[in-house]
Symmetry: C2
Subunit: 361 residues, 2 copies
Amino acid sequence: MALYGVIMAGGSGTRFWPVSRRSIPKQCLHITCHKSMIQETVDRLSPIIERDKFYVATGHHLYEAIKQDLPDIGFILEPVAKNTAPCIGLSMIHLLHNDPEAIVLLETADHYYKDEDLYRQHLLGAIAHAATHDKICLIGIKPSYPATGYGYIQQGSLICNQGIRIFEVQRFVEKPGIDVAKGYVGSGEYLWNSGMFIAKAQVMLDEISLYMPHLYAGLMRIQSALKKADKKVDIVTQEVFESLPSAEATSIDFGVMERSKNVVVVEGIFPWYDVGSWASMEEIIPKDDNENVVNTAEYVGIDSRGNIIYSTSKRLITLLGVNDMVVVDTDDAIMICPKEKTEDVKKIVDRLKCQGMQGYL
Amino acid sequence: MALYGVIMAGGSGTRFWPVSRRSIPKQCLHITCHKSMIQETVDRLSPIIERDKFYVATGHHLYEAIKQDLPDIGFILEPVAKNTAPCIGLSMIHLLHNDPEAIVLLETADHYYKDEDLYRQHLLGAIAHAATHDKICLIGIKPSYPATGYGYIQQGSLICNQGIRIFEVQRFVEKPGIDVAKGYVGSGEYLWNSGMFIAKAQVMLDEISLYMPHLYAGLMRIQSALKKADKKVDIVTQEVFESLPSAEATSIDFGVMERSKNVVVVEGIFPWYDVGSWASMEEIIPKDDNENVVNTAEYVGIDSRGNIIYSTSKRLITLLGVNDMVVVDTDDAIMICPKEKTEDVKKIVDRLKCQGMQGYL
């Protein structure tokens, strides 16, 4: 019974344009430190998962970029992005093909942790539980503020209190409004849904079989091709992904977790950050004396506070009387927006696509 | 009796940083059209002044840049910048050395005119008056709004009404507050001081002799060196400029015009724009459908209005939810500030100097 790490890294992270590009996805950006986010993710888990037991689950178009960052890590390639349920299903098939006893930890590459020891301590508790129970362990995060950008999980009965606390799941709630979120945080009964899962691979697959029959049938076709050492396994995989009904090209939360009777949630009491947009840099990078987050030495600000300045160019960035703005500079493009608009940066990418400005995508 | 044009271009225009630099002064920028501002100034006056009768009065450090723009134009070089009175005095000495009958039109390179014919029509009226009277003709501009950034001239008696109207000068007023400015505009008795002058060169020099004795004595030393075809004329000029008492290293307005009995003012009824800072581009360049002034095709704006975008780089500039900002991009530096702060751009230049960032000056 061995532990595997699967890093789900299929997104391109258009909200980090202009630094993220089609060939340089968000997970390859060096936002949080000198390493890329995906390198950091693997390194952070390496004390508990052997290096040769990591896989990156991503699309063909991102393979080259991520391979450069992680040349020694295996890949599970989705022929086409169909959300997390098919991605996880495919990963389970590949893991089980080599190790029917596999336990898997599913993480994404866009999380950041200030206390990595505490984070791993929680994971170890979850791994122990998943190894000894046929359950899927979600990692929930004790909310530190009434976030409206995350889903919430209501905790049910306490079922394990050894080092970490594990609860039954009462219910899942989609991203709430601010007033509802305040109520959740005040009640002490809700956790943020972090999108991390730990389970036996077979348990995960069994749950898919219960709630996503089309996906499961397709996965069985792929498993069969794998077993025959069929050279056509890639073609079969592509057929399965492309013929998936839209109702099953969905997230694992919606497809499985919200319906499953075998899901438990770990109460994660550690600082967790979702690096979702430029604004999230404020939580991660220390600010200067003027409350600016600045990643470049080539910056001069006068009467400018609360800005986020991120540069991959060598150019000098100067601000005069500018407050609460995001300025991102690269060799060929600049993006400027107020901090509260960073979720909409993908609109720029959409516009560039519409206008045929491929060179900037 | 011939007409000469002297373009006063000794300033470096730090308010147009990062496009203006020590070696690329404002007057060499292509802000208003495909030509530089100083080329445009000479071209605009060429219908009334012969090409070989133009001079640019500027400093040694700007000579190379301006010479590239105007290879066929003569130069009068100030050894050190001492404001406009010494600059004009030196120019008069040089003009008179070659032509004791010279009439001179003094312009700067940072004015913009939408109706050039009407502008020249006023100048011709002023030239006719200056040629037939021992007077200095100022060009005043009929104010179109209560500007607080210009000096005002109160009109006295009407002394000429042939095509254009010329008045005696009642008094000069320094830049007023907004309420005073409103009163001036409402009264119909005040004109903006444009900084343009037309006079016989000898009349200008005579007025300097009356009110600026140290400067005049120095100018006589330079004149004497010129007459002797003395090779040391540059050294003498340098000595004169460097030894000038600070009270006479001043503007021609303060040094002469405000005291002289021989000053008249032409009522300029034509659109005149002082290209003083990035914000002034709004008056000159047509706006797009979102009220943005944009000089580059490489711009994508979403929900962004009233901005000024000026680029000399090839980079894409993208704005999302940004209003009333100025974004200036060059190959090595970006400047971002709100429109109402553009007068303070020189603060950035000062800071760069302080921090020893010479490469950006």
